[in-house]
């Protein structure tokens, strides 16, 4: 009886998650449809929905908060301007990130063309507020925070082409097909960049923080 009850609990959980996902999707589709009809409130809802993810992605690419803010605004202006041409059957998120990426790359070409080359650069990234300690945490929490900080620094030093793929996969949790759509590249290219990005990241970690063991 106990395994049966356990199975029922798992099934309920899965149905619940699926229901929430459907609700999110239906909400998103409704907002996109309203924006296509010229409803500015829908734009406000979309901006609020994607603010954290889009800002994080743009900051990951350009590495300057002021530039990321400006590109954030430009991306949404472009969304509003081109929404009539958006095919509702397409993945809105992939389209949004494609627009953001194109704007970011155009910006980098104009302002920092050297950052698009395959060379490492040293940039500092402001410590997120969530990493600033308040109460003295447990040792394992300190170690975990230190590791994520090391990872953030190592990722920041990667060339843009690897940084963006890692960001889209691990931070935005996109599928490979979605990443291929954002990058406008074949799936094989995405896998290749993902693998080389991870290898470069690991080499960077081992070079900067040789005493850290990743197990």
């Amino acid at each position: 009886m106990r395994p049966f009850a356990h199975l029922i609990r798992i099934l309920k959980c899965m149905i619940g998650h699926a229901a929430i996902s459907m609700e999110v999707l239906v909400g998103l589709e409704a907002e996109v449809a309203r924006l296509r009809r010229g409803d500015l409130d829908a734009l406000a809802e979309l901006v609020t929905r994607y603010q954290h993810r889009l800002y994080r992605y743009l900051l990951r690419i350009v590495r300057q908060p002021a530039e990321a803010e400006d590109l954030f605004q430009q991306t949404w202006l472009r969304v509003a301007g081109q929404i009539a041409r958006f095919d509702p059957r397409r993945n809105f998120e992939a389209w949004l990130f494609t627009l953001a990426r194109n704007l970011a790359i155009d910006h980098l070409r104009r302002v920092h063309p050297e950052s698009l080359d395959e060379q490492e650069e040293k940039h500092s990234w402001a410590t997120p507020a969530s990493l600033r300690a308040s109460d003295p945490p447990a040792l394992d929490v300190v170690i975990a925070r230190e590791r994520t900080q090391q990872l953030a620094e190592a990722m920041d030093a990667l060339p843009m082409m690897y940084r963006e793929v890692l960001a889209l996969r691990f931070e935005e949790e996109m599928k490979l097909e979605e990443i291929a759509e954002v990058l406008n590249a074949p799936l094989s290219t995405v896998k290749s960049r993902l693998r080389r990005g991870l290898e470069n990241l690991r080499h960077g970690l081992e070079a900067r923080f040789p005493r850290t063991e990743w197990q």
Partner: protein, 165 residues
Amino acid sequence: MSDKTNARMTEHDEIRELLSLAAAGALDATEDQRVSAHLRACPACAAELSSWQAIETGLRRIPTPQVPADLVARTIARAQMRFAEESDRRSERKVLALVVVFSWIFVALSWPLAQLLGHGWLSLLGVGFEQGWKNFAVFTAFCWIAGAAAAILLAMRRDRERRIA
């Protein structure tokens, strides 16, 4: 070194190259089967996979940077302003187009109207009208071209002012 050892080493190297993608969940079904089969017999690769999994878990946990407090509000305000400008521009273009069409129609009707008011119905069929139609055509064409040129110059000026503003 035997061929079997060479083949095993090549297989081992190939699998090692796939481990980072395996930890990222980025293998296709065939690659996944190959890697799983190899890992059952290779503790070194299994340990390497654990390292990759630790790195990738860490990547998923990098804190999200805080969005500036007023960024969303500024973005929405900018979009509203752009919408309003576009709406104004569309209205002005419509008004301009209506004015141009009205002026063309008015000019086209002005000659027969002038004849009608000045000399009555018969003069429309008279010799004077037949000889004067060329002058009328030139006059009409000139007015149309002048009207269109004025509309275009006005629109260009307004666009320039808007860009400067």
